[in-house]
Symmetry: C2
Subunit: 637 residues, 2 copies
Amino acid sequence: YLFVENTRYVRQLAVIALILLSFFELPSYCSPHRQCVAVDGTSASLSLSGVPYISPLPQFLFNIFLLAILIFFFIYDTLYLPGTALHIHPKRLSLLFSALVLDAVYVIAFAGYPPFRLAPFLRALLPLFYFHSLRECTTAILAVLNPFFDVVTIVALFTFIFGWIVTLVFHDVPEADRYFGNLVTGLYSAFTSLTTADWPMQIMAVLDVSRPSALLFLAFILIGVLMLFNVLLAVVYNAYTGHMEDLVVRKLQDRRYSLGLAYDVLTEQDGVVTLPDVRLLFDELRKNKKHSHMDDQQTQLLFTALDRDGDETISRDEFLGIVDALQLRFVLELENVSPVERFFPSFYHTEGWQNVAKYVRSKSFSYVIDMVMIVNVLVVLLESTMDLREKDTPKSVLIFAAIECGFSFVYILEMVAKTASQGFDRYWRDYGNRFDFAVTWLLLAGAIYALYPYTENDRTIVRYLVLLRCLRLFTLFAKMPRFRKLVQVFTVLVPASAPLFSFFFLSLYVFTAAGVEMFGGLIYRNNPALNPDNNQLVDAFVGNDYWTLNFNDMAAGWYTLFSSVIVAYLTEIAEAIAATSRFGSWTKWFFILNFVVNSLIVSNCVLAFVVDLFVMQDEDDEDELILSDLQGRYGSK
Amino acid sequence: YLFVENTRYVRQLAVIALILLSFFELPSYCSPHRQCVAVDGTSASLSLSGVPYISPLPQFLFNIFLLAILIFFFIYDTLYLPGTALHIHPKRLSLLFSALVLDAVYVIAFAGYPPFRLAPFLRALLPLFYFHSLRECTTAILAVLNPFFDVVTIVALFTFIFGWIVTLVFHDVPEADRYFGNLVTGLYSAFTSLTTADWPMQIMAVLDVSRPSALLFLAFILIGVLMLFNVLLAVVYNAYTGHMEDLVVRKLQDRRYSLGLAYDVLTEQDGVVTLPDVRLLFDELRKNKKHSHMDDQQTQLLFTALDRDGDETISRDEFLGIVDALQLRFVLELENVSPVERFFPSFYHTEGWQNVAKYVRSKSFSYVIDMVMIVNVLVVLLESTMDLREKDTPKSVLIFAAIECGFSFVYILEMVAKTASQGFDRYWRDYGNRFDFAVTWLLLAGAIYALYPYTENDRTIVRYLVLLRCLRLFTLFAKMPRFRKLVQVFTVLVPASAPLFSFFFLSLYVFTAAGVEMFGGLIYRNNPALNPDNNQLVDAFVGNDYWTLNFNDMAAGWYTLFSSVIVAYLTEIAEAIAATSRFGSWTKWFFILNFVVNSLIVSNCVLAFVVDLFVMQDEDDEDELILSDLQGRYGSK
């Protein structure tokens, strides 16, 4: 089991690598005869979105190599640990593996140019087997679907009726023919109005003819955008939080159950759990990396903490607190360690060092560092203003780099002082400090690099690095009492949102794969279908120079769909694809589906998640008091 | 006091009329020498946004007339009811009145063409004095401001750092000069990126030069739009619901306190509240219109309901239930009344009528009506398809109108049957029935009207009317168990959201008034400042034909700002105004402020309100059980 735990990262990395591999593979519309299309129409170029492609053979080898890793671990697990539920649905996983291997062989059979590839879709399923949090996130999103579609039905009917009315009223108006010429375009225009994608384009065409029609659109937008879409979000929020509450309750029940089983095992011999039993348990736990720091004294302490009624045995109820107690232990441990105390005990106890340590822990030290940071930001501002006004010389850049180095050394000194007085583990526990740590070393490297002979090419890198410093400003916020709670929310939010953002990425990835299969190679500058003289509908696409929005490869396609989701709906690319694709205006359903899935469902889930987390954090404020109270109680023992 | 209650509507109507008057007044940039500007540049025309203007004298008279009404009531209230707190802050209100009268005089002193008008801003304050719900809504939004600005600070800093980085990196790129040429435009572009207004315009300019820069923008948008803006909403939601909970608690406390005082008054004489006391109380209450239906038998019933322990006196705790009991009484009353029973008691008790009434109340009757409705919608679909394909003849229109008449009569029959069997009050209690009632009569009128000789002009009206029928489809949803809860939410949501939407209207109104004062008359077709050849920045405005977006009068200005809010931020109009206004690019702050106030604060409050209401409705499901339990208990007595 420990082997599985320790190799979990290898498996997960292999899955991620497989998905990223899709971005470096040749799109399936390319062939040796018909080269991949670059946007500028030079079909020889392969740098569609600037991503370098891997040629068929190394691609095949890499693909097989990653698959081999996954399959090896899969077979190992099923052979040596048949009883444990390591893989959910092992049969489905083995099916998936065979499909992926078949796909790899199939690609090589076509010498790297297959007419159609299933791999991206299959690969998108892999993370569900390997990332528990992503699986949870998927079930949460699926739980939202049912109430979501109830509202969507109402929204769709509402859009249908509005589109119908508007078409009936305006289909005779030549200026609005493009938007409301017939029922199909009318309904589509009503839909795009609701997404506010082209707003206020549709209405402009109509407004010149009939001013009161503005009121009709106004009512539609008010009801649709401000009412229906908000109700949609409310429904998603309600379903999402409801699901999450159920999940937490179920998890707690599971934990109680498992701990109950463990307790039964421990009490098998003599019916009670005493100190030696717990010691035995912890000897086992110590084999697991996470708990390897535990020593005998701590076991004793933990036992005392668990044994609330002080009868030298642990009852079943007391045993259920073991997980909390295990986490508590770390806090206790961290409070005891300081490297100076550990390695130079004699020096640690001198009065001089104690004063230094006290000063470092004091507020005035932190103020001094904050002042240094502000001065540093002002220097950076000055430097970049000189850069923007083209007043900088190689000499000035050197001087600034030297100043930067000075600042970097101050920060390193701060870091050393802090770790020496608090201990590294405690320093590292704070996310702000981790950020400081990374930025400090990066900036020192950058500053030293800038001191080297100055070339124009290096400028961009130096610019990025210098401005990284400004991000340190955010750590200042964490120190202001007004912002402390907000920053705390962000430190919880960022790691907690990872599964949802991964899901968002994967969802777009699947849509992109489908888009590249269907619409790859359609968008290029001299495509006759994209001439505004032939087709009035693509003038916005061409006029705005949206050529980089295309499905000519995975990277470009992903970016196109991401842009669509961010602005809710992008009519321009939908029209351009509809004009060039052999599916005609049916392709718009692809973008409408993308809107529903990614803009409405996934984005609203992200929103629901953030609101839920924020509200929870607010409620937790009281719980935290209890926790710190608990810590205080156990610390005194 | 009753007089005040009964004239409340007159006051409120006068306030609304005063605000609407602003839309029909000449904008202050107009003068007899320099006519108001119409979009097409013909300065003679006054129909800027199609709204007819009232000339100075009648405008003055109407203004004074409305003010006189309000001031009359104000003086009456302060003279005859000095003790009651009818007007909050009477001093402020009298100041406001004097300012408004001064403004009216000042306008007439300039013969209707004053250089500047304060009236719209002053008028916007009036509703706060006259609409209690709007005042509550305003305090709720003000309560949100404090935590809101904490997050906005972080968003602003984030935008600043990103804009700075992007400007530093891309200011040398000629293609991106328009967006990132200097620090000011760079920061502004970063801001518009974050609003996703021009997305993906800014990035397109940059993408052709450096593909990896897409990742920079991607990170910015991901963090900014999906994280920070969601946190912004979460903060608003949290603050809004927190404020609302406090409000409800405070209201309940107020009610307890007032009822306690009333109880003290009733017990002054003999120390207990008995049936005669309650009778006396209800005699007083009967003078108020709302409770005029009460008779002696009901008083008796109510007394029994209140006296829970059955000792013929009402204790203090029991008295606190009086408000709930008063509302309960109405339900009891409604259940007893049926017009047939009341007016034709002998007929009511015949078996035939009882069967009819039973059938009307049965499910199969409702199914039949639903089927008729669906057939009707299909007929409407057929009719409009013929219309769209230009296959309709005057004769076919007549035939369809006749069919429509037939359907209308069926609906009227249904209405009559329902009211006869249930009683009108009970029928009217259901929002769905009210909607049916209004639509049915309107459609009958429309159908009869269409039977009259057919002219092309009438077509549009008939089209609207026929499609109104489709809105009846929504009443079908209410009958499906799957959608019942949703429809219920909507019936609560629509009336409850009125104050918030009024606030939204007023907030836009104030911004519009400022916009018309500052930017009135700037946007017209042959304005040299709006020639794309002179100014590259206005090409989007001119290219999209956005001429109807302007501040040439109140109606157009309101519509312009509304459009801005709907799409979060409209760069096109901001650029056009900046190009024409004497304030130059400072005018963009006006639009940025509008974005912060209306797009971020007010829109997010609307969203918070909808989510809060939805979550509350969900929790109420349990409470409702208790209420119906209560009703059952009292109904049996």
